[in-house]
């Protein structure tokens, strides 16, 4: 479903402090499966995740989403792909302070121009599904770690994306919440979603819901498991 062909990503290319974060990676990621990029800090897994999620462009190589080549797309088309195909869960959750949980969840859908009432109803269904509907009016900064995490997941799902991308989603969570997160990932998998996670947490890549673990080191694929 997602194919990476000879992907290289060099930051500050051509300068003395150039850094090759991803170095000649080629791989295919299956649809409706959970894939984890695993590796030490600085190994390039977050960059690889950003490349797959169209948040950055490669220095070299091509990425195909289904039959469509996406690295050459002009920015406004790429924005559309990013908005409708991917849902993102960030390490720090990146909830917008000062606005409510409900508004945070609805935010990525605003550019699509859906009717506000219908959107609000959909967002509330999601919040209910993840058990945080009672907190819908709370400001995001008042949430506990688990609530913030579930809000971030709801926000990632608001546009009903095919692919969920999560970057170190359990980095700030205790063991109970991390397990809870992986249970949610399992639920997303049963709903035919593709989930791609970058993590060096054993609770993540050791979870039974994970179909494939790809170990990254120095920007290259070192090993594959499962």
């Amino acid at each position: 479903m997602i194919e990476l062909r000879d992907i290289r990503k060099v930051f500050n290319a051509g300068k003395p402090h150039a850094l090759t974060a991803v170095d000649g990676v080629s791989l295919s990621l299956d649809a409706r499966a959970v894939t984890v990029f695993q590796g030490p800090s600085g190994s390039g897994k977050t960059t690889l995740l950003a490349l797959v999620g169209c948040m950055t462009r490669p220095t070299e190589g091509r990425i195909l989403l289904g039959d469509r080549e996406i690295t050459s797309l002009p920015e406004r088309f790429l924005t559309d792909v990013r908005r409708t195909t991917f849902g993102f869960i960030f390490q720090q959750f990146n909830l917008v302070r000062g606005i409510s949980v409900l508004e945070n969840v609805m935010l990525p859908a605003y550019p699509l121009g859906e009717h506000h009432t219908a959107l609000k109803k959909r967002a509330r269904v999601l919040l209910d599904l993840f058990g945080i509907l009672p907190r819908e009016s709370s400001k995001s900064e008042w949430l506990s770690g688990g609530e913030a995490q579930r809000t971030a997941i709801c926000r990632a799902l608001i546009n009903d994306p095919q692919i969920i991308i999560a970057d170190e989603p359990t980095a700030h969570l205790d063991t109970k919440l991390s397990r809870e997160f992986m249970d949610i990932v399992g639920r997303l998998k049963t709903e035919q979603k593709t989930v791609i996670i970058a993590s060096h947490d054993t609770l993540v890549y050791g979870s039974p819901v994970v179909d494939r673990v790809i170990t990254i080191r120095d920007g290259k694929i070192e090993a594959e498991g499962r």
Binding site: R5, T71, L73, P74
Partner: protein
């Protein structure tokens, strides 16, 4: 050289435009030589990123290029008080040998820049850069004209001295003089009015046909070009005398002055707008067969045809008002 703020603005802006066009020219050569969308090489990916930047820069540069035509005419008009014999921009452009060639080139570049912007707009609406080679090949063709314009403009302004005795518009656009202006002034008014009406009616009919059926793009391209030329000829032949209410005064520049409500700017804007949008319909026509353009181009052509018809209809309306309000009768 006369130190006038508008002259300095025009010179500086034309140098900047030339520098940016030459920068884009360099990338245009690289794109024509190395562009290969199937390749994932770092050069190809770099070109893909650059072209986004360059087409944005060029859109602004050529946008200013369009406006600068009017700034040049306005400047020439406002400088006319400095030259003995000049009454309007006609005399200022005649103050040295570079004035009229500059004006003609500026008009040509206006049309070419407008057509480049049309192609660029179409290309940017597709996801796979279908017109990239065409638009950069067009840029390579356009760039020498832009450089020549900067050269002529510099020679023209640097060669202007206030003590020059120049001709007034009355002698430059007189039926008894020689030259293109005089030939146009000598056109018989009534037959010219019939030809003007005929060409404008034909252009409108073809434009409506393009807007409704999507067909007749090339014919409309020719008609829109002919309507522009006929519009300028008519302005000199009978519209200007109607506005001045003086059968011997054919100047196409005095209409730009305050005494005539700056109506000339409206005339030129509508004629140039009609020409660019109308010719844009034809220039896009060959690209309809490209798969990613199959939906984009027909809708763009229809919209451009409507704009062109509206521009030319506005020019006709201005002409009608000028002729009907005038006490001059032929």
């Amino acid at each position: 050289m006369i130190l006038h703020p508008a002259i300095i603005a025009l010179l500086v802006s034309s140098i900047l435009i030339t520098a940016l066009v030459l920068f884009a020219f360099w990338y245009g050569v690289k794109i024509l030589r190395f562009w290969d969308l199937r390749s994932g090489s770092s050069l190809q990916l770099d070109l893909e990123r650059r072209t986004y930047l360059i087409s944005t820069v060029l859109a602004y540069v050529f946008g200013f290029q369009l406006v600068s035509l009017f700034l040049l005419i306005y400047t020439a008009d406002s400088l006319s008080t400095l030259f003995t014999g000049a009454m309007c921009a006609a005399g200022t452009f005649n103050a040295n040998d570079y004035g009229y060639p500059l004006l003609v080139l500026k008009l040509i570049n206006f049309l070419l820049a407008g057509l480049w912007l049309t192609i660029n707009h179409a290309d940017n609406r597709a996801y796979d850069y279908p017109l990239i080679r065409k638009k950069y090949a067009f840029l390579l063709l356009l760039a020498p004209f832009i450089v020549l314009e900067t050269f002529l403009q510099a020679r023209y302004f640097l060669g202007l001295t206030p003590d020059v005795i120049t001709s007034c518009c009355g002698s430059l656009f007189s039926a008894n003089s020689s030259g293109v202006g005089a030939d146009l002034a000598a056109l018989p008014a009534v037959p010219t009015q019939y030809v003007f009406t005929g060409i404008m009616a034909t252009t409108t009919a073809l434009g409506i046909a393009v807007a409704v059926t999507g067909r007749g793009g090339y014919a409309f391209f020719l008609a829109a070009g002919a309507a522009f030329i006929m519009g300028i000829a008519s302005l000199i032949s009978f519209i200007s005398p109607a506005i001045y209410e003086l059968p011997t005064h054919h100047c196409p520049f005095c209409v730009l002055q305050k005494e005539y409500g700056y109506i000339g700017y409206l005339f030129y804007s509508t004629l140039l707008g009609g020409a660019v949008t109308g010719m844009g319909v034809g220039i896009l026509k060959p690209f309809r067969s490209i798969p990613s353009m199959a939906v984009i181009i027909p809708s763009m052509q229809r919209r451009l045809a409507v704009y062109s018809v509206l521009f030319y209809a506005s020019a006709c309306l201005l002409t009608l008002v000028a002729v009907l309000r005038s006490n001059l009768r032929w």
